[in-house]
């Protein structure tokens, strides 16, 4: 099964949030009450009602120039979905993988999972969210109802900039490599995020920590070092775990 994939070209995203709105509309999800915290990102995090979120992050690049990075976050539909393997230990087939497309879909049986696990335990990208009332888990389902009748997912359909692309996995991987080569002529640091393991392939033009959210499945080196420093000194476990190896990588 090679199935379907998304290609998300972050070098083109203008953070119009058309995808975020289109997702809410197609999924018939209600708005959330939020307050202005000084960012265009709204709401501040994913939830069972907001399964797609454009994240904003302001950061200075190496030349001290201010960069505003946009990251439309969604479920990555992993080839080997940890949420399915972990989640289904606590409920009966609440998380299924569509055989044809590879979409990872959560159904109402995920209510059996409830708060027995956290999102971070289910997902290396911290994407699924539990509905506090029912205990049911929610995330993107690749708009499987649309895809099955030959339509594009709502987010892809709505994207005006060409950031969001959807199609057969081979075609998306080829497109990703082609765009990567193009973008690298002006931005040699560009890279594809976890393209081998997931069905949502992000083309990134800044370091993972320059985006708000979990762009990569990996442990964030800089954050890790900060938390370790916040604790009193470095202990044996940190050293044994080799956590400071990631500092040089980041």
């Amino acid at each position: 099964m090679s199935g379907k994939s998304f290609f998300v070209d972050l070098s083109l995203c203008t953070a119009c949030r058309g995808c975020q709105v289109a997702c809410k509309q197609w999924k018939n999800l209600p708005a959330e009450k939020t307050r202005n915290v000084g960012s265009h990102q709204n709401p501040q995090d994913l939830s069972s009602k907001t399964i797609r979120l454009v994240r904003f992050h302001e950061v200075r690049d190496t030349n001290g120039k201010l960069q505003w990075n946009f990251f439309p976050e969604q479920c990555r539909h992993c080839i080997e979905p940890p949420c399915k393997y972990i989640g289904n230990m606590y409920c009966e087939d609440g998380i299924v993988q569509d055989a044809k497309t590879g979409a990872v879909v959560m159904n109402s049986r995920t209510a059996g999972i409830g708060d027995k696990v956290t999102s971070e335990e289910l997902c290396p990208y911290n994407v699924p969210r539990m509905d506090e009332e029912s205990g049911q888990w929610f995330k993107c389902d690749m708009c499987l109802d649309r895809v099955k009748v030959g339509r594009l997912p709502a987010c892809v359909q709505s994207c005006p900039t060409g950031t969001m692309n959807f199609g057969n996995r081979e075609d998306m991987l080829a497109l990703a490599e082609k765009r990567l080569a193009e973008v690298k002529t002006t931005n040699p640091d560009a890279y594809l995020a976890d393209s081998e393991s997931v069905r949502v392939i992000y083309l990134c033009i800044a370091a993972p920590e320059a985006y708000n959210g979990n762009l990569l499945a990996s442990v964030d080196g800089s954050k890790m070092v900060k938390t370790a420093q916040a604790k009193s000194g470095v202990n044996r476990r940190d050293l044994l775990a080799g956590r400071f190896g990631s500092k040089t990588k980041a």
């Binding site: 992993c78 080997e80 399915k84 393997y85 997902c123 290396p124 393991s197 442990v219 775990a241």
Partner: protein, 138 residues
């Protein structure tokens, strides 16, 4: 001065003997070499989802916390002898994946113990690109 020297020499000898006795006790069960490939889960991708397990980094833990059911006393056997179902979707106590990952059951699992010991540390409780699965889940 000479007395002090002799006393300290005796102390050193005693410590050495005690330390030796300690090692003798612990090595009654010989743990396998490090870099043990313990995972036989079969997923969707061609790559196996193996975890490299080092007995040496778990030497503070009693052998029989993990090797919890043993037919022969003091002879730990492989997890896969009983947890035979290597499908990642397998349910029940035969499931290999479950034995490594489940939380909140009577028997502890790799992950449940890591959650307890290293709560909040993604490197040791996380999934892809953690210390357990450092190269991701491809």
């Amino acid at each position: 001065m000479k007395k002090i020297f002799i006393v300290s020499l005796l102390c050193v000898c005693l410590t050495a003997v005690l330390a030796f006795a300690q090692t003798e006790l612990e090595s009654a069960i010989d743990a396998p070499e490090d870099d043990l490939e313990i995972n036989v889960i079969e997923g969707n991708s061609k790559r196996d989802l193996g975890v490299t397990f080092n007995h040496s980094s778990h030497e503070d833990i009693d052998c029989f916390t993990c090797h919890h059911k043993n037919e022969v006393k003091d002879e730990p056997e492989s997890c896969a002898n009983c947890h035979t179902d290597t499908d990642p979707d397998a349910q029940g106590e035969k499931s290999y994946f479950r034995a490594m990952h489940v939380k909140g059951t009577e028997q502890t699992s790799c992950l449940s113990c890591h959650e307890e010991e290293f709560s909040g540390d993604k490197d040791l409780t996380g999934c892809a690109n953690s210390s357990c699965h450092p190269t991701g889940l491809n």
